[in-house]
Every structure is written in C-alpha cells, then in structure tokens.
C-alpha cells in the first residue's frame, strides 16, 4: 500500500496527464474550426466546410470528455488536497470561479454551434465559433493563473503561519502568471495544430492525396507553424522568469548542481545533485551562463545553495525539460521545411514522403512536449504545493481509502481512453461529410426530424 501522499500525488498526476490532452484540443480545435469554416465561406469551398463538419463531430465527444475529466480535477483539489483548500481557498479560489463563467459561455456557444448548423445563416453559425475560441482562451488563462500562483504565491501576507491581507486579484496576477499562461495557451495551438497535421499526414502517406487531406494538413501546419516559434520565445521568457521566482527549480532544470560562474549548458543526461555530476550529457562550456545572462562568465545559483531536503527530483526535471525543448525544435524544423517547400513550390502543399513522416512525428512530439512541460512545472515545485509556504505532505487529505480511489480512477481513465480511441478511429474510417456546398448548407429541416421522433 502507498502512503496517502504517494497515492494522492499519483491520482492527481494521472488525472492531470489525462485531462490536459483534452484541454489543448478544447482550446485549440475551436480555432481550427473557426478558420476552416471561415475559409469555406470566403472561398465558397465545400471541402473546407466538410473538414470543419468532420472536426465538429470529433470535437463533440472530445469536449465532453474534457468536461468530465475537468470536473474530476476540480473535485480532486479538495478531495486530495484539502489542506491546500483550507489554507489557500480564500486566496486562490477566485480564478476557479471565474473560469466557471468562461466554461458556461463555452458550453452555451458550443451548444449553438453544434446544434444550430442548420438553423442559423452560414455566417451567423461561423460567428458563434468565435466566442468558443475566446472563452477557451479565458478558461485556460484563469486555470493556469491558479497554477502560477502555486509556483509564485502572491496576494497575501504570512503572519505566524496564517495568511492575512488577502487580495485575490493580486494572487491571480502573481509574478509567474504572464509567462505561464502565455506558454500554456500557445501549447494548446501547437498541440492541436501539429496533432491535426499529423492525422492528415498519415492519410496522405496512405495514398489519400486529395484536396480534403491537403487542406487539413495545410491548416494544421499553419496553426502549429505559427505557434511554435512564438512558443519557443515564450519558453525562453518563462525560463528567465523562473530563475528569479523559483531559482531552485531553474537550477534543477538546467542541471546546475553547484553555484558558480560560467556554468556549462548540459544537453540531456542524468543529473545527480548529490555528487554534482550530470552523467552522459553533452556539455557546452559556459553555455548556460551565456543563454541566461548573455555573459559567458556570469553567475548562476546552483542547487547547493538550498538545503537538500527541499530539492526537487532534478534528474526527472532536467530530462523532461530537455526533451520538451528538443521536441519544440523538431516541430520548428518540420514547420520551416514545410513552409519553405510550400513557397518554393508556388504555394502547393509539399507531398515529400520524408516531410510527411516528419509531420506524423510532430503530433506525438507536441503531446510529449506538453506532458513533459507540465511534469517540469509540477515536479519542479516539489516538495511545495504552494512555493516556500505550504508543503505537499501537509496538504494531503488524511482519509483512508486513498489507495482504492487511485486504483479506481486509473481504471476509469483506461476505460475512457480506450473507448475514445475506438470511437475516433471509427469516426475517421467512417464516411466523410459530402464536399458539395449545397449538401452541407441546405436546410434538411426539422420536418424530417419531427417525423422520426414522433413516429
């Protein structure tokens, strides 16, 4: 049996790893839908419209699973970490409540978008996708701001271990918020974009080289390709801010075990903070100091500046961080080659086999970067649940049965994940929507529906 601390951390970890898959699609796909339908209306192009209709079908079920897995996470904040709620609810509950409103809006306009396709004018239907895009961004912003607060707590004063002078809006606007929220929202577009591109690249490798697949690939590469350079820049800002707000986390990420001047950049490798080595890594002398401070001999605070009882698991953090960064640069490379060939080919979608294979890999790479990024964030804060204030072990719910709960939820995620994959594959293999403009816009009317239901 695990201790409550281990079981609760495992359950929270599984829940977040599962939920975030749907978060990025819930935020990213609406923009793809909005763009595809907008292009359809602008160019009077039935294929673009068919693409948006097909994505809508997948989005319906993805959004639903995102909603239920999100509900689990909201409950788990108290069910697993009642100590966090008790001590910090008054400080950081507000963004969750605000996110509730954004989620309401998302649900309402999604309802209109999904069920109103034949009841609204085409332009009005397209316009209802815009509030979905916006409320998705707003939801992600509020929730990520709450996570930023855990990393750089603000909006209160600590007197004798008790929080006073609480200011929830100052808590929402904590030092990490601008960097972390931007990074997460861009991650949604990176992942949804390359994810979609990968799906159509698979189709094209299987010989389906038609307008439908080319458009899907093009739009995915457009969104992912636009987001990835911004994401890399945002990541750079994020790391610089971390060196100020969470220096120990930053040291673990970069494998800086000992403070000093002119620290090397370690690429890959296993960080061993006790001995101060980074085994099996590629070293670039003075690289870290140069990248962080634009000065070859600048000073970086190492992990040894902090008591070892507070060290986060540096080996996991450093490797996760490096693989995330590596994945990002791989996506950037594929996007640059794709758009370079696109422009060279006089605006024809490149169909080079190796490029398509590379595009297929960007899909999983984007998801790996996403999950590893969150592992860096969450492991990097250990052993704190709220940095330098509340320890994770003091926040865990003392209830027995935590182990049983862990097992049950793992089973639930396995069942949900499997069913979802089966359904999506079935949807992908099923008949595509008609690409004829008239078929998609003609009012098939409520009469037929009334007859069927009434019968």
């Amino acid at each position: 049996m695990f201790s409550n601390l281990v079981a609760a951390r495992a359950q929270m970890g599984f829940s977040l790893i599962f939920h975030v898959v749907f978060v990025v699609l819930g935020v990213g796909l609406p923009l793809l839908l909005c763009l595809a339908e907008g292009l359809a209306l602008w160019r009077k192009d039935g294929t673009w419209l068919a693409l948006s209709r097909q994505w809508t079908k997948a989005f319906t079920v993805l959004f639903a699973i995102g909603a239920v897995s999100g509900a689990v996470v909201e409950f788990e904040i108290a069910l697993l970490w009642s100590g966090l709620v008790k001590n910090a609810g008054a400080i950081i509950g507000l963004p969750f409540a605000l996110e509730g409103f954004a989620f309401f809006l998302e649900g309402i306009f999604l309802g209109v978008y999904l069920f109103g396709a034949k009841r609204l004018s085409p332009v009005a239907h397209w316009l209802t996708s815009i509030p979905i895009v916006i409320s998705g961004i707003v939801s992600a912003w509020f929730i990520t701001s709450a996570n930023s607060w855990m990393n750089s707590p603000a909006g209160f004063q600590l007197v004798n271990g008790k929080a006073i002078n609480i200011d929830p809006f100052a808590a929402i606007l904590n030092p990490n918020t601008p960097f972390e929220t931007t990074h997460m929202i861009l991650a949604c577009y990176v992942t949804a974009g390359f994810g979609a591109a990968a799906v159509y690249a698979v189709g094209m490798l299987r010989g389906k080289r038609d307008g439908y697949h080319r458009r899907g690939l093009l739009l995915g590469m457009l969104m992912g390709g636009a987001a990835i350079p911004l994401q890399i820049i945002s990541g750079d800002f994020n790391a610089r801010s971390l060196e100020q707000t969470q220096p120990l986390t930053y040291a673990a990420m970069e494998g800086v075990t000992r403070s000093g001047f002119g620290k090397p950049l370690y690429i890959g490798g296993i960080v061993d903070p006790a001995s101060g080595h980074v085994w099996y890594s590629i070293q670039i002398p003075n690289g870290e100091s140069l990248l962080s401070h634009f000065d070859l001999n600048s000073y970086t605070k190492g992990m040894n500046a902090f008591p070892s009882s507070l060290w986060p698991p540096a080996a996991v953090i450093h490797l996760s961080f490096d693989v995330m960064v590596g994945s990002a640069f791989f996506m950037l490379l594929v996007a640059v080659v794709f758009w370079g060939l696109f422009l060279k080919n006089k605006r024809a979608v490149p169909e080079n086999k190796w490029l398509l294979w590379g595009t297929v890999i960007t899909g999983p790479a984007a998801y790996i970067a996403l999950e590893l990024g969150w592992i860096v964030t969450e492991e990097g804060r250990q052993p704190w649940i709220s940095y330098l204030w509340l320890l994770v072990k003091n926040a865990v719910n003392p209830a027995q049965w935590m182990n049983v709960s862990l097992v049950v939820f793992i089973c639930i995620y396995l069942v949900l994940g499997t069913t979802l994959v089966v359904l999506l594959l079935r949807l992908a293999r099923g008949p595509k929507p008609s690409e004829k403009w008239e078929d998609l816009l003609v009012d098939e009317g409520t009469t037929k529906i009334k007859q069927e239901v009434g019968a």
């Binding site: 008790k86 008054a90 409540a97 309802g111 034949k118 359904l423 099923g430 009334k450 009434g454």
Partner: protein, 346 residues
C-alpha cells in the same frame, strides 16, 4: 462583514437549486431509462434520450461552481467535508464521470451492439449512484456528523452517510430526480402529441411524487433524533418554509392530476427550490452543523466581495448568452432530437 458571508451563501445555495433542478432532470431521465417498464418502453427511451439536454455540460457547470464557490467563500467547509465524506464524494464523482462519458459515447455514430449496451448500462447505474450519493452527503452534513473544532474535523466517515436518515434522504434525492424528469417528460410527450407517453409519464410522476412525499415525512420524523439541528431550526424559524414546500407539493400533484403539465413543470421547479430552501433556512445560522456558522466559516471580506463582484460581471455576460441560446432554439424545443439525428447522419 456578515452581509457578504450570507450573500455568498445564498448565491451558492441558489446554484445548488439550479443544479438540483437541471442535473436532477438529467439524472431522473437516466433513472427512467432503467426503470421504465411497459409496452411502449422503446418510445419512452427514445423520448428520454432526446430530452436529456444538449446543455448537460452547462448543467454540470452548476455543480463545479458550487464546489469552487465553497473553496473560495467557505474553504474550511470544503476541506472538512472533503476529509469527512471522502468515500461518498469519490463515489458520487465516479458516477458523475461515468454518466457524462456514457452520454457522450452513446450519442456517437455507428452504435454497435456490445459497446453501446455496456455504456447504456453504465449510464443507468451512474444515474442512480450519483443522486443517491449526493443525497447521502447532504444528509450527513445536515445531521451534524462533521463537528469541526480548531479547524480539525473527522476523517473518512462511513457510518455517517449510511444512517437511516441518510439513506432516506439519499432515496429522496432519487425520487425527486425521478419526479422532475417524469414531469418534464410529460411536457416533452405533449409536444410530440404522444398521448400514450403523456399518460405513462403522468402516472409515473404521480407515483414518484407520492414516494417523495412519504419519504419526506419519514425523513422529517427521523430528523428529530438524527438531525436535531435541522429539526430545532425548523421548529424555531423554518416551519413556514416547510409548510410552503408541502403546499407546493400538493399543488404539483393537483396540476398533474388535472393534466396541466406545463403548470406542473413550473411547480416542481418551485418545489425543489422550496425543499432546498427549507433545509437551508432550518440549518441557519450553521453552514456545517453542529459547530461552524456561515459567518465563522467565511473567507475574509475582500475575498467575499471580489467573489460577489465577479459573479455579477459573470452574470452580465452569461444572461445575454443564455438569451441567445434560447432565441436560436425558441421555435424548436426538440433540440436534443436534432442532435441525435444529426449524429446519425454521420
């Protein structure tokens, strides 16, 4: 500032009423999906499938809002309840997830035998489990099973949500959900001119309402010994609310009996509001009996004020959006049916 504490408590209590009505109708639909016997069972199930809102995602936001509202406004309550009622809360959450997932999966195209049967079953079981657990949780809170002293309370209780009182309230939650759904379904049946289904759900609504009333009286009787805070509060300052609840209940039965279905729908919503309102009023000044009062449990005034302002701003954005939703679907109340059919086309 006591006024902020009470204002937030009222806001969250109203959210609970909204969830009980909207979520209750959804859960009740699932209950009838399992419990409907008779010759037109197929038609009834099709009607239920259709009536389960296209906005069930929006319905579950009410629940989330209550939860995060407690985190913000009454964190000690959220933490103490999470510790003490870890087991029933986890069970309710499991039901909640399976139900949502089953609903989403069931409406997907090409429903083939095995998978759809399994998820249909899961849908039914989860629809029974979740309201039952929410009822048991409410009863455990009302009966004062969670004494909090110096910020510490009991952990992982088992007996508290399995007492005769708690089980009675748990079944009441099921019966109320079934009543709401059956009454909503009479209106749905009326809309598609199905006399058979109208009568079938009228009868079931009357039975479910009768069961609710009987269990309600039993619960009231049990509360004398098992939930004394509520019982004394009711005698002291809540008797009129209980009286109103009973009167509206009788009115609902009468409206059903005389086949005034739309009136019955309005009355059952009021009935749920009155029922939960009567509970809340009887429990005052406690938010978590027997120790924590609304004022003691409240977060500092700044937090409460900002929570209320944000709710106000949120509503200013939400209300026009809701208006737009209903405006679009005004002439076609069969929104869910359209969903079903559109999905089948794919």
């Amino acid at each position: 500032m006591e006024i902020y504490a009470y204002a937030v408590a009222v806001l969250l209590w109203l959210s609970m009423i909204a969830f009980a009505v909207l979520g209750g109708a959804d859960f009740g639909g699932g209950i009838w999906n399992v419990l409907f016997f008779g010759r037109n069972v197929k038609e009834a199930r099709s009607l239920i499938r259709g009536a389960l809102g296209p906005v069930w995602e929006a319905n579950n936001v009410w629940l989330i809002y209550i939860v995060v509202g407690l985190y913000t406004g009454f964190p000690i309550v959220a933490a103490s309840v999470a510790n003490a009622l870890f087991i029933p809360l986890t069970l309710a959450l499991i039901g909640f997830v399976m139900r949502g997932a089953a609903f989403a999966f069931r409406t997907q195209p090409s429903r083939t035998g095995g998978m759809s049967t399994v998820w249909g079953l899961g849908f039914g079981v989860a629809s029974l489990l979740t309201p039952f657990m929410f009822g048991a949780i409410a009863a455990a809170v009302a009966s004062g099973a969670i004494p909090v002293r110096n910020g510490q309370g009991p952990v992982a209780l088992i007996g508290a949500w399995l007492t005769p009182f708690a089980l009675t309230v748990a079944v009441i939650a099921l019966a109320v959900s079934a009543t709401i759904a059956a009454i909503f379904l009479t209106v749905e049946a009326q809309r598609i001119d199905s006399r058979d289904l109208m009568e079938a759900f009228r009868l079931r609504a009357l039975i479910a309402l009768g069961v609710t009333a009987l269990l309600g009286l039993l619960g009231l009787f049990l509360s004398i010994s098992e939930a004394p805070v509520i019982w004394h509060g009711m005698l002291d300052h809540g008797w009129w609310a209980v009286g109103i609840t009973m009167l509206i209940g009788i009115g609902t039965a009468a409206a059903l009996f005389f086949r005034r279905y739309k009136l019955a729908r309005v009355l059952i919503v009021m009935e749920v509001a009155a029922f939960l309102g009567a509970w809340g009023i009887s429990q005052l000044p406690y938010i978590l009996p027997p120790n924590l009062t609304v004022v003691q449990a409240a977060s500092p005034p700044t937090t409460m004020r900002e929570f209320l302002y944000s709710a106000l701003v949120g509503l200013l954005v939400l209300l026009p959006s809701f208006w737009f939703l209903f405006h679009v679907f005004k002439f076609q109340m069969a929104v869910p049916q359209v969903h079903e059919e559109e999905v089948k086309e794919g």
